[in-house]
């Protein structure tokens, strides 16, 4: 009986739902948008690039960077991604608009981290 209560829009409340081939619950529940999907594809691409890089030059190129920390390539990716998240948040909190400028700052930040940290 509860399946009948499940609706995709307000107009369909109370009507029985017909399911299409790709209309499985996992997907609609996760509420995907192309923007967030792009973000996760970017993260996945980063990991794939790291895998290929590791195949080409194994060992992770460890070094002691300007912060005095022993970092490998993976550490540098993590620091870049975490730092980028905070740069975006700081931009949203302090400036609020033109978020793409924060993204450009993040690209510069990525390069600095991979070169020096």
């Amino acid at each position: 009986m509860f399946t009948k209560l499940h609706a995709a829009t307000w107009g369909e409340v109370g009507k029985a739902k017909e399911k299409g081939l790709f209309d499985f619950d996992l997907f609609s529940w996760m509420a995907w948008t192309w923007q967030t999907a792009t973000f996760f594809i970017f993260i996945a691409l980063c990991i794939i690039v790291m895998l290929i890089w590791e195949k080409k030059a194994p060992g992770g190129s460890p070094r002691k960077g300007i912060l005095g920390l022993d970092t490998t390539r993976g550490d540098r990716l993590f620091v870049s991604l975490l730092g980028s998240a905070f740069i975006h948040l700081a931009w949203l909190g302090l400036v609020g608009s033109l978020l793409w400028i924060a993204s450009i700052i993040c690209v510069a930040y990525f390069i600095v981290v991979f070169k020096y940290v």
Binding site: A31, T36, D70, G93, L99
Partner: protein, 288 residues
């Protein structure tokens, strides 16, 4: 030497991948998706962009609960670390006292969070609870359900009771791993008790203490069940910590978008601090 390349081990990792995907990756991705949208249920979503993030970053309510959370965690660390080290130092090193102390110390750790909250709730009730009644009968005006200072006092006392043992057990393990030769050398040099602590025991405990700080930080920063059962965030908003506030927003008000944005900011803060601790812990390890 030519090693044969055998990738069969990956097969055995698949169950873990599936498990992590279902209990961590997929929910986290969903939270990211929700944080950019508005929903009224029934799987209908509307794109909102970065609105919720801006709202949360400028929200008085978020600042207040984050502030309360930081103060709570700071007080917890300030009390539990010295207390835990002190108890570990005064515990017996051999004899029948060792198992007795260890069992007594591990008992609070074995009690489920909600039971701890319920226990302390009854224990601290001003009329019938042992703690509340005793405090009132010796002249204190104590009522944790109405006075925010008392609510804080009770919550902190409860957490100290529940979790100091963890610091004690870690410090005790650290102390026991120090070779007797260090103490003998200190005795020959005529070192005082303080010197022994400052120059032998404390440096030798550095690693376990960093671990203790990390564990206590994470647990107290993400505390939910105990204050939920004890005070429910009250009186008013006095003990409304970050995770309590988050659940109120997500499930109480069904504001899934703002709650998702808030939990992502919360997650990033925890991630940053854990990374800092991890880096400090690994700094002298020569890991790379």
């Amino acid at each position: 030497m030519n090693k044969t390349l055998n990738q069969k081990a990956w097969l055995f990792v698949i169950p873990v991948f599936v498990l992590v995907a279902f209990n961590a990756a997929i929910p986290l991705m969903t939270v990211v998706n929700y944080s950019f949208q508005e929903t009224f249920g029934s799987n209908v979503f509307a794109w909102e962009g970065t609105r919720w993030f801006k709202e949360i970053l400028h929200s008085e309510r978020f600042h207040a609960s984050l502030g309360r959370q930081v103060i709570f965690t700071f007080i917890i660390l300030l009390i539990q670390l010295p207390l835990g080290i002190g108890i570990a130092l005064s515990m017996p090193k051999k004899g029948w006292g060792v198992p007795v102390c260890l069992i007594l110390m591990s008992m609070p750790l074995l009690i489920p969070w909600n039971v701890v909250g319920a226990m302390w709730n009854i224990f601290a009730l001003p009329e019938i609870g042992f703690l509340g009644n005793s405090l009132n009968s010796i002249g204190f005006d104590y009522n944790f359900t109405q006075q925010s200072g008392d609510a804080w006092f009770t919550t902190i006392l409860m957490d100290v009771w529940h979790w100091t043992s963890l610091v004690v057990l870690l410090s005790y393990a650290g102390l026991n791993s120090i070779q007797p030769a260090y103490y003998q050398a200190a005795e020959i040099d005529g070192a005082s008790r303080w010197d022994i602590f400052r120059y032998i025991e404390l440096p030798k405990m550095k690693k376990v203490l960093t671990l203790a700080i990390l564990l206590r930080f994470m647990d107290s920063f993400m505390i939910y069940t105990e204050p939920f059962v004890l005070t429910g965030g009250g009186p008013g908003n006095a003990t409304n910590f970050l995770s309590l506030d988050l659940v109120k927003m997500a499930l109480g008000q069904f504001d899934l978008g703002p709650a998702a944005a808030m939990s992502l900011i919360y997650f990033l803060i925890v991630l940053l601090i854990c990374w800092i601790f991890y880096t400090i812990m690994m700094k002298d390890e020569g890991r790379t």
